[in-house]
Amino acid sequence: MHEMSIIQQVVNSLNSELSAEEKYQVSNIILHLGELSNVQPILLENAFKAYQEASADYVHTRLTVLQIPVVIHCDQCGEDSRVKQYVFKCNNCGKPSTNLISGEELLIHKIEFFDPFKLQ
């Protein structure tokens, strides 16, 4: 879905925080994408490449997408379970749960910068 607008959102977020000089130093943008976020990492990476070509902005920056598994918390026994095959049940006691701990992320997790002393 709407990968291009997500990339635009990432860029807008960074632009609102960084000066033009700082923008140039961003080496890596690390995103966290939950498995339920309905966003495909490969499409997002392609969208970022398209953005770089079209805008000539962030051209030296990498985009790293980390997929975050769906994990639920069980209110009955307190266990956390990884959801498999979209069955939202506790792996320990079998109680159904929709109490999501992770899996819906659509986050800029981290940005990394080039070492200014090594740059150029």
């Binding site: 879905m1 709407h2 997500i6 959102q9 990432v10 977020s13 925080e17 960084l18 700082e22 130093q25 966290h32 339920l36 976020s37 309905n38 095959q85 979209y86 069955v87 939202f88 049940k89 159904p96 749960s97 929709t98 999501l100 819906e104 659509l106 986050l107 800029i108 997790h109 981290k110 940005i111 990394e112 910068f113 070492d115 200014p116």
Partner: protein, 237 residues
Amino acid sequence: MIQLSQQRTSKNKRGTINCDNTTRHLLQANDFVAEAIRNKMLQSKTLVINIVSSAGSGKTTLMIETGKRLKEKYSIKVLVGDLETERDADRIKAAGVDALQIVTGGICHLEAQMVWQAMETMDLTGTDLLFIENVGNLVCPASFDLGEDYRVTLIASTEGDDKPKKYPRMFLTSELMIVSKADLLPYVPFSVEEVTKDARDINHELEVITISSIKGDGIEEWCQWLEERIALKRQIV
């Protein structure tokens, strides 16, 4: 919130800025507006229902049938999202229910900002029930909170009963699943039991109502579901 300025130790940043408060939720602008809508609708005690489904599952027909039955008793408004045309709003208005079309111009889902803008155009004073008929799509609308009280997913018998496992987030985030076009069940390979089981594997609290908008089956139950929630919303102080 990104709080880079507080992390900054020198003008030139080096290495990794690695800290939880650097994470930023990419949909936070949407969620902010959704919360504003929720607050506004709490003040006016308007029940807001976000209706989602694939294209062609019968959302608009259900809006019309619901409007016909409840419009004398309640003030009902419908916001309807589509990529192009005002056809759906025209159909709903022809049934005597006030509707406003949101033309997204190619965007595959409604965002809270679009709803907010539409709400500024439409006078919602005294409205008991606001339906937001989303763009026909089981993927993207799942991610966008519109400030609704309840999310209702329609799944038509003609779509096939494999949808919950294919589009889990929509069913995870819905309170009610309506199986529509039930009058066609004898003719299509669709099992209400199977679809209910799959959907409840994902969301064990999901309620299920089977309807036929054309024949009228189940509409009574659906209207009752709505009326209970309109009453609940009115009680909130």
